[in-house]
């Protein structure tokens, strides 16, 4: 039942599209997989797309916030994209603020933002 989230490499960036509801184990496995992949590929940027996700609870938000800080420690910048209106509303009502996190409306804008940040 434990599924791995695919991590794709595009030049010096990693692309992840979360396609199904995350359970705790999958989220924690993803955290580890992403850090190993950054190490393996020397990626400088990461885009995580949430277009298909219809809710994020405090656990997933914590794992996400942590993996962004961990990636930063390893020298990679992370942009999250595709947060749906319902997800943005519930996260704030829940009291979760991901304020230091770079965001963009969709994958395309996320990649553009990352390219600018990385100075390419």
């Amino acid at each position: 039942m434990n599924m791995r989230i695919p991590i794709l490499k595009l030049h010096d960036c990693l692309l992840i599209s979360i396609q199904w509801e995350l359970d705790d184990q999958t989220a924690l496995q993803f955290q580890e997989d992403l850090l190993h992949k950054i190490h393996e590929t020397s990626a400088r940027g990461v885009v995580i797309d949430f277009t298909s996700i219809d809710f994020i609870d405090s656990f997933i938000a914590k794992v996400l916030g942590d993996v962004i800080s961990m990636s930063k420690l390893m020298g990679a910048k992370v942009v999250i994209t595709g947060i749906q209106p319902a997800v943005a509303i519930t996260l704030i009502e829940l009291g979760i603020r991901l304020e230091e996190v770079m965001t963009a409306l969709d994958l395309e804008k996320g990649l553009e933002k990352l390219q600018r940040e990385l100075g390419d």
Partner: protein
């Protein structure tokens, strides 16, 4: 009215509980934002059971009050209980080291919220979301 319950024993039960909640919310005609609120609230309540009580139960009920229709989420456990209810209802208070936005978040996501807890006996949380 049909009630449905999910026993919360392990992490997978948290997923099962929120999937049940989301399906009932859809059936009742809640919009996508309220569906997300309900799913998130259930996830938080189920996780609290898993983390603090070890096991318990989430029950989803459809409710009608005159012309109003909605759904109730009941979270019941026989865990250690909460000694200071006022404190757990304060934003930012969490005993599990930052895991879980806690009960104030759930209260904001739902329309009605009540909690009873007896140390040594357990906790009962009832919350309602009304269809607008």
């Amino acid at each position: 009215m049909m009630d449905s319950s999910v026993k919360i024993i392990n992490e997978w039960d948290i997923v099962a509980a929120r999937q049940l909640g989301r399906n009932v919310a859809k059936e009742l005609g809640f919009g996508t934002v309220d569906q997300a609120r309900i799913t998130t609230a259930i996830s938080e309540l189920a996780r609290n059971i898993y983390l603090y009580a070890g096991q318990g139960e989430i029950t989803i009920e459809k409710v009608e009050n005159g012309a109003k229709k909605g759904m109730t989420i009941v979270s019941r456990d026989e865990g250690p209980g909460i000694p200071d209810l006022r404190k757990v209802m304060e934003d930012g208070f969490s005993t599990s080291g930052g895991l879980g936005a806690g009960l104030p978040g759930v209260k904001r996501l739902m329309d009605e919220f009540s909690i009873e807890s007896t140390p040594g006996e357990g906790t009962l949380i009832q919350s309602v979301k009304w269809l607008r």
